[in-house]
Symmetry: C2
Subunit: 600 residues, 2 copies
């Protein structure tokens, strides 16, 4: 077997005169008047090999049998190309290899799609033949960058004294884990392991165990209804520390992220990152993961229109709602159709409507303008910095609805006005999340993050008066409108934990039932601790400029939680189920429809 001495994509002028052996795949072959040119591809790139009767001898006949994606070994001399045949588009375009020996290592059927970037192929076909899709340079670059990103995380954390600890995949079903993946046990009938939604409990136990600094690039599992940016199994960089303040932890993480972006894509990320409270993020951007690559902040105008003759404004203002506005600079020229389309856009986010005003030729125009009092127009002009050519957009509703409608409208306008610098990486910490949210259905508070999230010291007294107002020591890292990380400082003091359980409506007995062994652990000298988890798949997606998580994963699953390559999940032998002491229950209704290609 002729094994490679050099990499195809790494040959340069410096190798001229060297005899090299290359191994790779046939990217393209051309026969020009009896001279055969084969572009040979390996992981590093493509090089042109030449088979000429003058120097190739029998190798030419053998090469003539090669077709696309055949695996070849060739041996020959690196020579300079003639000036006129230099290919500037190829890293190796200045040279070629004059082949003297060849071995066809393997043949190949014609692939179902061409192995090159930018081809328009149905995704389900790509997933079914993922091993061919992975040969495309774009996919190889992505997987290389993913590997590199993992390495940078590890190198940084290792340098800062973090210990890489593996936590169990076969673990216990969590109290509220209705959507855990379960694993039946052969040895213990009627008992199940669960796959972890995160190593949360174990990482806290490692802090109780005195490890002080832990990390793991951990596989996590959620049996949720999948969206484009969710996978049933996903990867997070999981971190936990003891004896650090929130500020110390966030600063350390900023250095980490700075290094990650520098070493993977050469981006220089300024630190410290902007910090914005949850309240401000919601007020200004209508989102707890604001895209800060552009401004276009929304303004609260409830005070101005509280007694307006615009009835819906006054009514909403009088019943505890809010009225907010967004100034779409220079958008007065939007067509009537564009303005009409705003209504269904608003409804998609739960809004009942969206009022608009254009500023044209020095005056306000639009259906609601006649109801505004002059002093309202004056006040609004000032607050919204309204100028000639602007489009003012108003939403009046419950706070949450206004945030959703105007927050999404802000993104739409930002994109349409080209306000977004697509090459920018704009980070921010969103801090001071609420500790508790009111669950209208259960008529009780629920933990917004989880029941071990530490409240802000200053707010502990509010447990007795206004639990909903307590801010948590919880934080999200936001990048370009995506949440790429999140975490919290944890409760480590018994009294605070008890208050928290009270607020959640758990009796001591219930708390014990739900969190038994963890509460036991906390009795034996728990250090102050806290941590964070980064969504690794999403970070890689943003680093590589992709918009689909599946592009960042070697063997992903479809939105239907199916692996089109291996056809998993699949039926199993009855004997396997018997050993596991379970039996299947056929679904009465028909199976949900699979996405196109899934059953091909």
């Amino acid at each position: 077997m002729m094994l490679k001495t050099h990499q195809c994509g790494k040959l340069t002028k410096a190798d001229v005169g060297t005899t090299v052996t290359l191994n790779g795949w046939v990217q393209r072959r051309r026969d020009l008047g009896g001279v055969l040119f084969i572009d040979l591809r390996d992981r590093t790139g493509i090089v042109q090999t030449v088979f000429n009767p003058d120097f190739s001898g029998e190798a030419l006949q053998v090469a003539d049998r090669a077709r696309s994606e055949y695996v070849l070994a060739v041996k020959g001399e690196v020579v300079l190309r003639d000036a006129e045949t230099v290919n500037q588009n190829l890293d190796t375009g200045e040279i070629e290899v004059r082949v003297k020996e060849i071995e066809i290592m393997n043949a190949a059927k014609t692939p179902p799609f061409p192995i090159e970037d930018g081809v328009d192929v149905d995704e389900s076909l790509r997933l079914k033949y993922r091993y061919l899709d992975l040969r495309r340079p774009e996919m190889q670059r992505t997987l290389l960058l993913r590997s590199k990103a993992a390495k940078v995380f590890r190198d940084f954390l290792d340098g800062e004294g973090f210990i890489d600890v593996e936590t169990p995949i076969l673990t216990k079903s969590t109290p509220e884990g209705a959507r855990d993946y379960l694993v039946p046990s052969r040895v213990h009938p009627e008992e199940f392991f669960a796959l972890p939604q995160s190593p949360q409990i174990f990482k806290q136990l490692l802090m109780v165990g005195g490890l002080e600094r832990y990390y793991q690039i951990a596989r996590c599992f959620r049996d949720e209804d999948l969206r484009a940016d969710r996978q049933p199994e996903f990867t997070q960089v999981d971190i936990e520390t003891s004896f650090l303040s929130q500020d110390q932890l966030l600063e350390l993480m900023e250095s980490l992220v700075k290094r990650l972006f520098s070493e993977t894509v050469g981006a220089d990320i300024p630190t410290p990152f902007q910090r914005i409270t949850y309240a401000d993020a919601m007020n200004k951007y209508g989102s707890d993961k604001p895209d800060l690559r552009f401004g276009l902040e929304m303004e609260d105008i409830t005070d101005i229109v509280a007694t307006s003759d615009v009835k819906v404004f006054a009514t909403v203002a009088g019943s505890g709602g809010v009225v907010k506005a967004l100034n779409a600079k220079g958008c007065a020229s939007w067509s009537r159709k564009e303005l009409d389309d705003l209504q269904p856009f608003a409804s998609r986010y739960g809004g009942k409507g969206l009022a608009w005003v254009t500023v044209k030729e020095g005056e306000w125009r639009g259906p609601i303008v006649k109801f505004f009092k002059p002093e309202e127009i004056a006040a609004l002009t000032e607050r919204l910095a309204a100028e000639e050519g602007d489009l003012l957009l108003f939403s009046a509703d419950k706070k949450k609805v206004v945030a959703d409608v105007l927050g999404n409208l802000r993104l739409k306008v930002g994109r349409e006005l080209g306000l977004i610098d697509e090459s920018a990486f704009k980070f921010a910490w969103v801090v001071d999340f609420p500790l508790l949210g009111w669950d209208e259905e259960a008529k009780r508070y629920v933990a917004e993050h989880h029941p071990f999230t530490r409240p802000n010291e200053a707010d502990v007294a509010l447990f007795d008066t206004d639990p909903g107002a307590i801010r948590a020591q919880a934080y999200d890292l936001v990048l370009n409108g995506y949440e790429v990380g999140g975490g919290s400082m944890r409760i480590y003091q018994r009294e605070v934990q008890e208050k928290m359980f009270q607020a959640l409506g758990f009796s001591p007995e219930e708390a014990r039932e739900k969190f038994g062994f963890l509460l036991d652990a906390f009795e034996f000298g728990t250090p102050p601790h806290g941590g964070i988890a980064f969504g690794f798949d999403r970070l890689v997606m943003l680093l590589t400029g992709r918009t689909n998580l599946r592009e960042t994963i070697a063997f992903p699953k479809t939105a239907n939680a199916t692996d089109l390559l291996t056809d998993a999940p699949s039926p199993v032998e009855p004997s396997q189920l018997e050993q596991l002491h379970i039996r299947t229950v056929p679904k009465p209704a028909s199976k949900p429809a699979a996405p196109s290609g899934a059953q091909a």
Copy 2:
């Protein structure tokens, strides 16, 4: 909160005069005439802190409340100890910290066992309170070394162009995977994912995908009956390469192992490693994972005793069996009881008996000596290099039985004679494993490694004549009698794969049914490839001198596949099972007994 400025275990004379804040756990407190000494422990070690009415003020009263495993923050000045109070056993023994401020960060109940090395505690208690067990310096050292070992693997492989790729945990049940862990699917009733026993198929697909060099520190799962050195989930360093020969791969792996041992435990491992064929290993050591820290090789004496009057020898020799002997140097002094104990020892490994001869005062002694002809004694004396004081041990049986009996006897004698250098790391590659083994029950050949293992080139013709004699391009890495890694070059040529399936008795249809998508993949230009997997848990065990895999894993499971800390597996809500379209089947018989403490 008073957060640490320094690490307890890192303070030295160089810090004298510095004011430091430390955070840690109370290891020990002593009250000497109103002066309180508290040994404070963090991940880095222990330091003595002193509370004296002269300089500690109120801190003394607060400190007086502290008990074992309380979490403290203390602030004070590092001072030299008096010469007579220097503690040579402590890295920080030359200094102490005069505390001026203290904060009790958290209280602790009295732990169920002392937090120190070498304590004799029931393992199930340690596992139930793993978070306390992990505080012991020995466990922390082990986890640190494990983390470091992973880092060395990654650094080396990264430097050699290997890409870290994550393969799915939710995957397809393998054809012969009766002992797969299965995961029911909510979206696809009556279908199951399986947890991977190894990423074997995916790593081969990555080679088809042109990645060329892949690695992953991968979690694998086997629902087997557990032994002391097995865990239901375990970790392997999984590696696959394209375009390398077996020799190139093994050399690269030797460099890797050399670096691993150098950087983790400072051991200098000579390379290249010894290579021993499977046949030689079985013949000389009776094992495919020989402990080569000592000699004591067994000798085949079948030819010498073929016509012996020692009936059992002649009978065995005449019926296709073998007779082998081991010379236990200097063991002629073994007592009658020790010699008698050899019989049950032999039976434990399937032997029917074990004959012995001592060489004492120039003559052979023992029950069988009288049956030997003088020329047999002469020939045996020569072949076994028998000398005054030696004990000769004979086993006659089927080849496999003799190997087991004498192989294990060799280990026993080696240990008892102190022939084993416990500080040595003795590596060897065992190569040329048989490709196929005869399955007496199924009356067919089965793959010894797996059905994609490449035969030695020279042996391919034997498919038609003597498949059992084909040697495989398969190899194990053996260390001190443990298999710590294993792999093979894979079949990449269609003709060879077809011969292999024929030898296994699979029709083309059966092969397709079992390995469908992988065979499809192989049609599209598969490069020559091969790989290896290292048992990471076991390597860490050997690196740290432990004898139990559970000591190397932060949160292990018992031999009963139970997590005593979280009490997993456990019953789940009926609604969870309903969503997964399964129902449990109660086991008619009683549940197998749990190990002590498992149900506590």
